[in-house]
Amino acid sequence: MTGRLTFDAIVVGAGPAGVAAALTMARGGLNVIIIERGRFAGAKNLFGGVFYTHALADVLPDYWERKPPFERPVTEQGYWMLSPDSAIRVMHKSERYLKEPADAYTVLRARFDPWFAEQAVAAGALLITRTTVTRLLKDERGRVIGVDTDRPEGQVYAPIVIIAEGVNNLLTQQAGLIASDLPPKYVALAVKEYINLPAKELQTRFGLSGPREGVAIDVFGDVTLGLPGTGFIYTDQSGISIGVGMLLDEFVTHRLRPYEVLERFKRHPVVRPYLEGGEVREYGAHLIPEMGYDRMPKLAGDGVMVAGDAAGMVDALHREGTNLAITAGKMAGETALAAHQAGDFSAAFLSQYRRKLEGTFVLQDMKQYRRMTDFLESSPQFMGTYVNLLNEAALRYFTAHGIPKRTMEHEILKMVRERRSFTGVAWDMLKLMRAMRG
């Protein structure tokens, strides 16, 4: 190869953040390369599976005409609170969820991500797969000027590199945007199975009237053995995505095998009937960065910006991530366009990326829930004691024993007191409010 392989911008990673950035820059007239280590965009990607469309509509207003490979619109959603043998189920179903394009869809990433990447390619971006970026290239002043890859003579140069490498933030560290690896107390490990089930059967089990309806359930309590974390059950077109996620630290401390925790969830008496006869087609695992607002990396340096999981852009409470990633990718892309116009790729100029994000839900939500991970970690009673208590209270409430209702009410109150003092409950509620209000 003679001469340097040079682009206006390099994007590392063809996930939602990277593709949104590339799409934005390509449409703005930049010569963009996306470098992806998987055999195709999405090959390495896995999530629970609810995808929110608002951010996609922002970067691709006509996305609906381009037939995105969604699984099912989410037309019913809510929470299951499991005790070892029972569940309280709080579900919200509404006719208003039936209008398409819907606000949220279930998605399988190995199907969705390639489609999204195709849109960036259609806009003029060059997508190179099967290529791992091994390090950032810097000039003598430490400014990022390109990347090295595992291809022979694989250096690629550009005045701007957008890092969308995902949760394993090796390049973000090399860029000096974050000082160290994420500690296991701020990273969740989630495992998931995709279980095949004929669409008709699936619809009958979940009470869906057809393929344009779907359910998203987040599960608390016994699913994580009462530890901080959640489970999920989402309906796909002809299958179920089921999984469980907990802080990595909890797996370490309690010596839990993630796939055994998931298997236990699948065998729960309330869950099992939904899965009966289904065939496990795929198993997988992924980390979720839950370090929150206060431990995010710097978002920009000289010649470099970071977006998506690599930047910790996740709202775990609302199971949001891909929408934060897409919005951030778009903002990084717009910032790169402005930088090219100004001919200024300094950290000072690129800092407008963060200012843009501060004006959006991305950093505002992250700021509001900045205490959430610490709160759940320090208040295990929410996932343990309270969920069990609710189930037992419900059992008492719904059972006719031939005892006066007044006595039953006293019994329920006594049950609460035995588990946690009223001052304890009041204190917990205060902490919960603080964590929610930010």
């Binding site: 190995a110 290529t131 995709y194 009462g226 010596r255 095998r257 087609r281 795929e282 980390l287």
Partner: protein
């Protein structure tokens, strides 16, 4: 290990988890194994030998880590799903973890 704040003990220790043969799950995954390069290596076997209780044997979602008869840590990197847990959760930072070469490793069909 089960001690928590507020003087509360999580009931985890009493829970019996169902045994799962991880091979039954791994078998449905598609891999493009890089036979020449292991992307995960143990930096120092002596550190693993002295490590107690070897949390990687449990938390790794693909059960990549296992000790052999002589107590040596064996790494079945071929089964790795590249989540990165061992990279950050090994208590002695004794895992040399890299991304597999481009195109290698796991390739999800559903994700």
């Amino acid at each position: 290990m089960n001690h928590r704040k507020n003087g509360q003990t999580a009931p985890v220790a009493e829970v019996e988890l169902p045994h799962v043969n991880i091979d039954d799950l791994i078998v449905c995954l598609k891999y493009y194994v890089d036979e020449e390069n292991a992307h995960i290596r143990i930096k120092d076997q002596a550190i693993c030998a002295a490590c107690n209780p070897k949390p990687c044997l449990a938390f790794c979602p693909a059960h990549v880590f296992e000790t052999d008869r002589h107590g040596r840590m064996m790494v079945s990197y071929q089964a790795c799903v590249e989540c990165g847990s061992c990279r950050i959760a090994c208590p002695f930072r004794n895992v040399d973890w890299r991304l597999p070469r481009g195109g290698h490793g796991v390739a999800y069909k559903y994700g």
